[in-house]
Symmetry: C2
Subunit: 140 residues, 2 copies
DNA sequence: CATTAAATTGAGACATAGTCGCATTAAAAG
DNA sequence: CTTTTAATGCGACTATGTCTCAATTTAATG
């Protein structure tokens, strides 16, 4: 059904659903966790795909626009993404030792942020909270 | 007094307080807002400094270690920093239109995060909350 | 199914960001 | 002032992202 969504998006924009685009979406859908374009490209290469770096970089904005993936974080030109796949918004705790990523969601936190935005006359669109530290296993 | 702090730090580590390091610290201290190494380097170049990119990149870890600057955010090798200068921890709202950065601090938010960490058996060391959206002026 | 117009592709040049080794220079200790 | 040691700039190198252009693929049409 993700592929369907992509197909529809591509159609409405007068674009074409190519094999390469399909391959890229497929690779994203079958992998868990965060990814960045370079890593995705390398992974596909390793698996024998003939996709080019340019195609990977060119496909990501399309997947973003149709809501199949989301930008988790970005600095300048460097971004990390994750597939959406029906997930609701959540934030992250990242273990600085083992790299484990814990996803969490707190309605209270969301509400509090709305209040803080209001106080500053700021219209919040999206946010990104990353808590860095040590997971249960690593903090012993 | 920032320079004093740096001098002391450098001394205890058996390093040297060079003219270049001093220049770099000075440039950081006299500029407001966030910065990244490349931008800092270009800015100094433009002002006629003969400092090299390598020196800028090599000095930043020192300033971090002695607490004169802090990492605001990082993805892979790309980081943004800000001078500390007695500021307490705060988070950011960033206008996606004009780039304005609003700094805010909420004790409630901090407390809530501690609770959330506890729930996940996670030892939070530092965090980074960025709310993206539109500032009062731009959201009209 | 063949044709064709338009979009997409890969290759590789280019740009930017960050790191590293090494010969030279500068700091600070004696 | 000499010596020791760290710091510097240069330039090579890696990694990441963007762009152009000729060749290819898609999908609409005949």
């Amino acid at each position: 059904m993700e592929r369907q969504k992509f197909k529809e998006y591509v159609a409405t924009k007068g674009l074409k659903l190519t094999k390469k685009r399909d391959d890229i979406l497929d690779e994203i859908l079958t992998t868990e966790g965060h990814f960045d374009p370079e890593e995705l490209f390398i992974r596909m290469k390793t698996k024998g795909s003939k996709v080019s770096r340019a195609s990977v970089y060119r496909t990501i904005p399309l997947l973003l626009e149709c809501g199949l993936i989301e930008e988790v974080e970005r600095i300048d030109k460097h971004a990390h993404y994750e597939k959406v796949l029906g997930k609701q918004h959540h934030d992250h705790m990242i273990c600085m030792k083992c790299g484990k990523v814990i996803e969490f969601f707190s309605p209270t936190l969301e509400m509090l942020q709305s209040e803080l935005c209001q106080k500053e006359s700021f219209t919040g669109i999206r946010h990104n909270l990353e808590i860095l530290g040590y997971c249960g296993r690593c903090s012993k």
